[in-house]
Structures are given as structure tokens and as C-alpha cells.
């Protein structure tokens, strides 16, 4: 995970916490049906000006559908969408200050890259003398200077994606909808483009709604991340919030790697609970803001990097369990140890590889101890 944007980290930029702030986009109990199929299920969500709002979710959960409703290509079946305080139900797509980058790119095959980018500007009667400069700027931004005269079928997939991005950026809309804008780019170019998008966002103040399958990308660019499933938003929070404080096993599991330990809760002091999770195992101590009743079923979600692994028994650990190394996944900078506990559960523990591989002291089949603090995990109902 990249370091979150400073403004989201120290909470300077958090219009969603300010009750006086007017949202730019307001989904009010929006439902979208295709025949009998419910693609968006009574969804309500506010998105604020200058946000970088990321939609994350499995394929078919309704991300593109949300975008298409904002752009004006789908009508809502019930509910309403407001843009800057106005219901946009009857505003045609060409009258909305919204531009969309299509998942399929939708480049005009009969026009050159240059003309594709200039298309929207020409429709707006953009002054001729400035048009050239504007298109050149967009070409430069997306590193397509050399390809201006080519037709879309004469460039690579990644280049096409950048043309689509440049075309949607060219008009400098108030709201920009990006449907998987960087999926076809290699990692390096993707990261550079991410930072450029953030730059654009900071200089122009455009509001971005971005769909991505890449959670690292969502974490990098977003002011808030919405995790969706089957037409519903399950959780909306800052990248840090989503990662550190997921509200459900679904979200915890969707973002990053996580260990889920199922058990029953037993109050153990203010905001503290014991989790009974298996025969012959000492209960786990965990803190939680959420209240649990005695005997309530619960799930403890702990990130692998919050669990440390040692050969010797740790003294005074809040939680420590013995197990056996089943597998080691070497990721270069990190290693993930799969530790099998006596009850058969497998817990992942991650450590930074500060030593050379050959000098690693834990190997397969080694008996090891894993430990974590009471505050390391999140206790969830479901």
C-alpha cells in the first residue's frame, strides 16, 4: 500500500465529516433494474466536490452501472440522482458537465488520436487558436506526442487507453468518471499516471469517480473508497479506514490479505473481549468499539503484517499461539509464513526480509510461535 495522500491522512480534507458541506453528487435511494435483475439496490451515497472517489468491487457488482447513470446513459428505475443540488433525471448526457472514460475506451475509429482528443473541444466551439495547445497538452500528459496522427487501430492497447483518458480530460469537466482508466498499463506507467491524475485533481479541482479492480490503486489515489457488492455499497471510508477498520468480513477480505478467526465473544473489560475460538486454545484478547454480548458469534480479522513470528516462546504477549510452518511465500521484500495451528487453522504472518534469504532462521516444518496485540485485529459481527 502506498502512503496515503497527506490530506486524507491528517484529515484536513474530509468534507464528508462536515454537516454543512453540500455534496456534489447525491444518490438518493437509487435502484436500477435490468428486467428482473437488480443491478443497483436502493443505494444512497454522497460524493463531495474535489473528492477522488474510488469504487471497488467484484465484477458485475454495478460499478459501471453507477457511472452510466451519472453520465446519463441509464435512467434510474427508482430514486434520484442530484448533481450540484439538481435532479439530473431529465438532463441529456451532452448537457451534463460530466465526462466519462469508457471501460471499452470507445475511441472513434475514423478519427486520428489528435481528433479524438479534440472532439469534445470542437463541440464546445473551443477557440481555434487555443485548441491546438490544449490537445498538445493532453498528448504530452499521456505521453502520446508521437502518436497524434495515428488512427486508434494503429496503436497499442495501453496507448488506446491513454487516448481515452486524454479525451475525457480534455474538456476539464467538473466531474470526471473513469471506468478502469489504467488497467492496461504496465505497473510503472500506471503509477506515474496515478500521480498525474492526482496532480490534475489538485490543480483543477475536478471531482473524480474512479472504478478500479486494483486495490493498491484505490488506496493510492482515493480520498474515499467505496466497497461494493451486488449493487450495494458495503462500506465507504478513507483508504486507511477501509484497511484498518473494515466493517465486515467481506470488506476485510476484499481489501488486502487478512486472517479471519471465527469464535464467540466474552466481555473482558471496557471495550475488551475474549474470543473463544477452539478447543484447547486459550481465548484471544481483542479490543473493539463495537459492543458484543456474551456468547455472541464474532469474527476476528487480523492483517498478516500485524502478526509476528518467532522461534522462541515470546514472554508477556497479549496473544501467543504455537504452530508449525506449513509454507513460506517469498515476495522479495516480504515473506508470508503460513502457520498451521494445532486445531488445523492456518494463520498468515508477514515479516519484512531484513536478512538475506540464506540466513533466514525459520524454515518449513519448524515449530514457531506467533503473537499479536489485543489492538491488532478488528472484531466483526459478520
Amino acid at each position: 500500500m502506498a502512503k496515503p495522500k497527506p490530506d486524507t491522512w491528517d484529515n484536513q480534507f474530509a468534507p464528508w465529516d462536515n454537516p454543512n458541506e453540500k455534496p456534489l453528487i447525491r444518490f438518493k435511494d437509487v435502484t436500477k433494474r435490468f428486467g428482473d435483475f437488480v443491478a443497483i439496490d436502493s443505494l444512497s451515497q454522497d460524493i463531495y466536490e474535489k473528492e477522488f472517489f474510488a469504487l471497488l468491487g467484484p465484477s458485475g457488482c454495478g460499478k459501471t452501472t453507477m457511472m452510466r447513470m451519472l453520465a446519463g446513459f441509464e435512467n434510474v428505475s427508482s430514486g434520484s440522482i442530484e448533481l450540484a443540488g439538481q435532479d439530473i433525471a431529465n438532463v441529456p448526457p451532452n448537457k451534463r458537465a460530466v465526462n466519462m472514460m469508457f471501460q471499452s475506451y470507445a475511441l472513434f475509429p475514423h478519427l486520428s488520436v489528435y481528433e479524438n482528443i479534440a472532439f469534445g473541444l470542437r463541440r464546445d466551439k473551443f477557440p481555434k487558436d487555443k485548441l491546438d495547445a490544449r490537445v498538445a497538452e493532453m498528448l504530452k500528459l499521456t505521453r502520446l506526442e508521437k502518436f497524434g496522427r495515428r488512427k486508434p487501430h494503429q496503436i497499442s492497447g495501453g496507448q488506446r487507453q491513454r487516448v481515452a483518458l486524454a479525451r475525457s480530460l480534455a474538456k476539464g469537466p467538473k466531474l470526471l468518471l473513469l471506468d478502469e482508466p489504467l488497467g492496461a498499463l504496465d505497473k510503472k506507467l500506471r503509477q506515474e499516471t496515478q500521480f498525474e491524475l492526482m496532480d490534475i485533481q489538485e490543480t483543477t479541482g475536478t471531482t473524480f469517480v474512479i472504478v478500479t479492480h486494483d486495490q493498491e490503486e484505490a488506496m493510492t489515489v482515493a480520498s474515499r473508497v467505496a466497497v461494493m457488492d451486488e449493487g450495494r455499497i458495503i462500506q465507504v471510508a478513507t483508504p486507511g479506514g477501509i484497511y484498518e477498520a473494515p466493517n465486515s468480513v467481506y470488506v476485510a477480505d476484499f481489501i488486502g490479505d487478512v486472517n479471519i478467526i471465527k469464535g464467540t465473544a466474552k466481555p473482558a473489560g471496557p471495550d475488551q473481549y475474549f474470543v473463544d475460538w477452539g478447543v484447547n486454545q486459550a481465548p484471544i484478547l481483542a479490543t473493539s468499539d463495537r459492543p458484543f454480548t456474551d456468547g455472541q458469534e464474532c469474527h476476528l480479522a487480523i492483517r498478516p503484517e500485524k502478526i509476528s513470528i518467532t522461534k522462541a516462546k515470546p514472554d508477556e504477549a497479549e496473544n501467543a499461539v504455537q504452530g508449525k510452518v506449513l509454507d513460506i511465500a517469498y515476495l522479495g521484500n516480504l515473506s508470508t509464513y503460513h502457520v498451521e495451528l494445532p486445531g488445523g487453522q492456518i494463520i498468515k504472518a508477514q515479516t519484512a526480509n531484513t536478512r538475506r534469504l540464506s540466513r533466514r532462521d525459520i524454515t518449513w516444518e519448524d515449530p514457531v510461535w506467533i503473537r499479536w496485540n489485543a489492538t491488532a485485529g478488528v472484531l466483526l459481527e459478520r
Binding site: 446513459f73 441529456p92 451532452n94 466519462m100 472513434f108 475509429p109 475514423h110 469534445g120 464546445d124
Partner: protein, 291 residues
Amino acid sequence: MRRFALIALPYTWLLALFLVPFLIVFKISLSDIALAIPPYTPTIKDGFSALIRGLDFENFIFLTTDDLYYKAYISSLQIALISTSLTLLVGYPMAYGMARAPAEWRATLMMLVILPFWTSFLIRVYAWIGILSNEGFLNQFLLWTGLISTPLTILNTNTAVYIGIVYTYLPFMILPIYAALDRLDDSLIEAAEDLGCSRLSAFWLVTVPLSKNGIIAGCFLVFIPALGEFVIPSLLGGSGTLMIGKVLFEEFFNNRDWPVASAVAVILLLILIVPIVLFQRNQQKQAEADT
């Protein structure tokens, strides 16, 4: 060897079915009329050197002396051009409607477009006589509705010829345009609207340019046969309808002047070569764009 066979096949085809007949017609056009069977001289029976010596361009020169021929070519071009435009005007909206129709309807609509081919072309043109004549269905219907008080004279005018050509060649216009529109991705129209186009300007700026190849193909497929059309003008047209196909028929069957008829045909072919070559180019360009 296999490659050779692969190339040889279409070339043999072309040679046998196009070049050889053309050379025969061309040879006849250089001959003189004669009261014989076949009705021209010289023939191959006269020996090769006599054959070569007997050929001249007399018939072509004759075509320039009578302005009937020149007028017939011009009028044919005019009728072919106008009816091609009319066919485009009628065919494009139909193709567009078909491409936009729900997927489960398209096969049926396609069927309806092709269906007329299942009955004889001649019968269908005859049927138009029944519709367009003074006592025909159209006039009776219009009289009955009270829109007109005296029958309209449509049959045996150029209007009837236009109607006949548009009706007959409409499928040739619709099919290539439909093929082009069918491939057009809806998201392109959405993208155009997203970037500020109205429905109408998205149509002109995206739909039309992207169906251009279909339009061109359709126009050629109508224009080329319409130019030499014989049946439609002779059945539906009047004495004033001058078309080269009719002239050709009269020279051949009424005057039995095979050499002049052949000269008329050769010139018609020369006129058609220009659009045919352009058409081939268009097809080739399209094929290249598709790969």
C-alpha cells in the same frame, strides 16, 4: 503448387467469364453488318489475315454521328444517379432501423428485405404496372381517399422508372449499410454524446462516417446495374424514357445490327469501368481497415 492453383482458379474464372466474352463483343463491334448467320462480317471462317483487315472503328464513329446515342448515355447516367440517390434516401433509414432493432427482430427484418428475391424479378416489375397504371391500385386508393380527383399519370413516365429501380435495388443498398451499422459500437454514440454532441450531430459525426463504406458499396451496387437497366425502363418507362439498355436492345433485336449494338455495349462497359474500379478500391480499403 497449391498457391499457384489458388491464384489460377479466380483468374481462369475471370478469363472465361469476363475477358473472353468481352473480346468477342469487342471483335463484333469492329465488324460490319451483313446479311448472314451470324449477321456480321468478317468471321473467323474468312481466315485470320482477312479477319484482321476487315476490322475497323466505323461503328464507333457512327455512334458519334447520331445524337440519339449520346443522349441515351447522358440520360441513363442521370436516371441511374437520381435513382441511386433515392435508393440511398430510402435504404439508409431502413438499414438504420434494422441495426437498431432488438436483436431478436433482426433476423426477421433481414428476411423481409431478402424475401422479394424469391419471386421472379419480371413478375414483380409487372406487378408495378398494376399498381401504377391510371386504373391501378395506387390511383384507385388516392381517388377513394379523395386526395385527388383525376388519376395521376405515373406509369410510362420517368417517375415510374425511378420507383421501379428503387424498389428492385433497395436490398442491395440496405444490406451493405446494415452490415456497417451493425458493427458500429453503441458506446461510440454514447461517447460522442458524452463529449457534447446532440443526438443529431452524433449521427452526422460518428454514425455516418462509420457507415461510409457501406454507403459507398450500396451506391455502386445500385448505380452499376441501374445504368444498363433494360427491363424496368421498357416496362414502366414511356416513349420519352431514353436509356442505353433500351437502345442496345433495339439495335440488337429490332435492327439486328450486332456490330453497332456491340459498340454501344463496349462504350457502356468503358463508362462502367470507372465506377467499378472505384468500387473495388473501396472494398479493398475496407478489407484493409478491418484487419
